[in-house]
Subunit: 340 residues, 2 copies
């Protein structure tokens, strides 16, 4: 069972294998009588074409690779969900490939990946979306790729992002509207473009509201919980303690909450905390974190969808798809007015 090949179908239907192939691929110039005969054979024999043979004939693998190097498991999972969904819709397979950004080995690593798997295209997630070396390398190798959440849209490739700067601006304004003026900021990892964008949104909100920027309220983290802990200790032990902290992601925000608890600071009465990403931890701690939800699955879905469309399309000059999606502010319990 399940041994039906194109030859057995052809024999069963009394036609040539080429004709079966035509029906399979919905090519024109097949009489409806023949078409029906063949389709009946498909059903009777429970036939599914062999994607490997098809791949060999087409010199295609029907594989999309997904590159990531991200400490957040929930982010990765969301990327995967969107990617799987797009691949499924287009009958492609998804190959996940976690790897480290740093090190000369990166390009060799990717090279080996490409040659080993013969993948048809790549989706780059942060921080790879903004790695000039990598982009140049892929272009050179003629590997089609799409970028998720890149910082710059200049590159002539498919790019889908959400507006990090605007979202950071909004959440900062939320804190300001609650009466906060000393708002600390914990930066993310310098390799990620979102680090710059989120910081920029914070600065713009201060500026717009005529609040003086105080460099001592800014500390550099790297998106990890641990780095958030270090930054929080510095910030919360300042002589003039800020009344609010905006951390560039939820893990660091959760770390701020931990340090605040250890210092017996009440959140949000004595300290407001805002995060970014709407990671599961944002609602798994108490009080829940006010944060920004990005449509990660959707971004990845669109990226892969457009990517496949592009290299599948007959037209050489399909316009390069660029899109910026909306992020959404989620207001939870970790932010409020200062009340002591």
């Amino acid at each position: 069972m399940s041994k039906a090949t194109i030859n057995s179908v052809a024999k069963y239907a009394g036609v040539s294998k080429k004709t079966v192939s035509r029906v399979l691929n919905e090519e024109p110039n097949v009489s409806s009588a023949t078409r029906e005969k063949v389709q009946q054979a498909f059903k009777d024999l429970d036939y599914r074409p062999n994607p490997i043979a098809r791949g060999l004939a087409h010199n295609r693998s029907f594989i999309i690779g997904c590159l990531y190097d991200n400490p957040s498991k929930s982010y990765i999972t969301r990327v995967q969900t969107g990617a799987l969904s797009a691949c499924h819709d287009k009958s492609y397979n998804l190959l996940i490939h976690p790897c480290e950004l740093r090190g000369q080995a990166l390009l060799d690593n990717i090279d080996a990946l490409i040659r080993r798997t013969r993948l048809d295209g790549l989706v780059l997630t942060p921080p790879f979306s903004d790695q000039p070396d990598l982009l140049a390398f892929l272009k050179n190798k003629s590997i089609p790729y799409a970028r998720v959440a890149p910082g710059e849209l200049e590159d002539d490739s498919i790019s889908i992002r959400s507006n990090d700067e605007q979202a950071a601006f909004e959440i900062t304004e939320l804190l300001i509207s609650l009466g906060h003026t000393d708002i600390a900021f914990i930066k993310g990892h310098p390799d990620h473009s979102s680090t710059t964008l989120r910081f920029s949104g914070y600065l713009k909100a201060l500026e717009k509201n005529n609040i003086e920027f105080k460099p001592e309220l800014v500390d550099e983290g790297n998106f990890s919980y641990h780095s958030g802990e270090d930054s929080a200790r510095k910030i919360l032990n300042l002589k003039v303690r800020p009344s609010a902290v905006f951390a560039s992601n939820d893990y660091m925000a959760a770390a701020v909450l931990k340090v605040a608890s250890q210092l017996t600071l009440k959140v949000p009465e004595q300290l407001s905390i805002a995060g970014f990403d709407n990671a599961p931890i944002a609602r798994h701690i108490w009080p829940g974190l006010t944060t920004i939800a990005q449509p990660v699955e959707k971004m990845t879905y669109i990226a892969i969808n457009k990517l496949i469309e592009q290299f599948t399309s007959q037209e050489e000059a399909l316009p390069i798809h660029k899109e910026t999606l909306e992020a959404q502010l989620i207001n939870r319990e970790s932010t409020g007015r200062f009340s002591e």
Copy 2:
């Protein structure tokens, strides 16, 4: 570039493609002079064999599928890490396939997956590891599979697990050794075999220490944070409140901590909390959770490794690999003596 095929290598080395194939596969009966000529050609032409063509010839896809339906992103990521590592070592590709346990659609879903991808084998993670329908279906289809963390080892398939019952026993004894006697228990999802095992370990520890089992201290959750919250509210509002709660996983334990915070119970002074799994959240909340660390990556690695070995081996009767790995108790701040 990168266009070298077996034909071009053969021509370059002045031998037949079959001989090139022999060198590739390290078959015997190739003179060392010829072998070196061919290997030099590999280098000169920068040749890599095409896995798709190889797959077609062998009727193999070199793809291992990984099935999961698990709410814990960190668990999934750890499974993937182990799986990727094993696949990489054996030059296989990993295809991840999240899907829902419930519903008649499951078998159809898996069937479609198999036919679409022609995968060579499957790794089952909980709760699929203990799904009799699925196991029977795969056996019927002659799809090789390996089970990660199954409840029962009876099935004649590769099975790698850690000792959940023993670990639950130990963590319960830890609580007992701290002086607790009223220890509540929150069960996991009934579809997961670990739910039964962990509960059983809890019961055995009570029994061994001559502590009376009180049914009202046990509540049924489903491994989700939300279910843990519900159970925690019930348990912590009992007339006679227990002094410790052992939740079947860390998400539910984190929810207990949240409810305790809302009730202004001090942890661990007024309430000890223990979890299971050593999920990231266990160290991202304060106080950190005492819990059990399982070698998830290693289990998955071994499972896939043995799976590939099995269906690659010439010997028909390779013994079925079964292994039970050690879990480890991690002692953090959420457990201690009752002190009020």
